[in-house]
Subunit: 199 residues, 2 copies
Amino acid sequence: MKIVLIGASGTLGKAVAHELSVRHQIISVGRKSGDFHADLRDIGSLQSLFEKIGTVDAFVSAAGSVHFGPWNELTPEKVDIGLRDKLMGQVNMVLAGQKYLCDGGSFTLTSGILSEDPIRFGAAASLVNGALESFVRAAAIELSRGQRINIVSPTVLQESMPSFGPYFRGYKPVSAADVALNYSKSVEGRQTGHIYKVW
Amino acid sequence: MKIVLIGASGTLGKAVAHELSVRHQIISVGRKSGDFHADLRDIGSLQSLFEKIGTVDAFVSAAGSVHFGPWNELTPEKVDIGLRDKLMGQVNMVLAGQKYLCDGGSFTLTSGILSEDPIRFGAAASLVNGALESFVRAAAIELSRGQRINIVSPTVLQESMPSFGPYFRGYKPVSAADVALNYSKSVEGRQTGHIYKVW
């Protein structure tokens, strides 16, 4: 398969690239790294890029940032970082990508455990992850030509524990490689509207 | 109790006002109607208003619009309507209101069934409702002074069936009065981080 992978340079993205590239052609997209550059936050930037790449079998996103920080310093502007980037960035990938996705092809997005199991400092991340999961449930019944859409919701990664460990006390970390398996399930399986919870 | 009710002029808002006003003082807030006027989308507008009203025992929102429409005409701009209004409007109420909410006081927000059970034309609404529910779970562990936060997630209202019925075939409608009972549960009960599903 020919697969567009957005966010291939991140901790999770690298593992997803490693998992999928054994059997598929990966076209990596990043803001500054990868085969092609695009800004997820700008749907026009994605449309131009997808037009250049042409038809593919899957779009996968392991990209997107959100604000973490003290509740009493949270502002609408800080929430907006995640709305523009992790949320609308991935929604933009779907809205722009569907025209270039083959019949039966798939979108796979990334949310995270905080939609259901919150931590201190994580309200903006929870909000964004919840939005993404409900969007995927809804988009699954709207897509045409047998196109599918799923989302992977990982807990904290083993690889991220040196920096995120103090915020995720009691959360059992999983390896990026184990999380990456779920992207194969989504891309090579037949499910749609599914949330792959990896925790 | 002294309760600020935002969106008191809507179908649901009227029922919530009726339910709560039997036992409490209701201060109604709307864009153009009610005791006070404010634009939920502008946190500054809410801050000025709450400063004027002073300390209250509860903030309740039954306000917020989202875009409904064909999937193949969905754009980031149409999704943004709900992000600014129903989502960030209610988040703004919480961020601005916490300073004016008494110890043990409560926020009660409104989402809707589409976060879990999607309909055609409703992807932007699903996204917004999912965001709100996860935000409430997260905010519940962050609020201080015993402040609480819950959310009511109604299915389609009986009163809305003349206009929304065709989009909600097979969904059993509930009366606005029955949905309104849950706002009493949230305000007068002791739960926090709870999603009151009314379907």
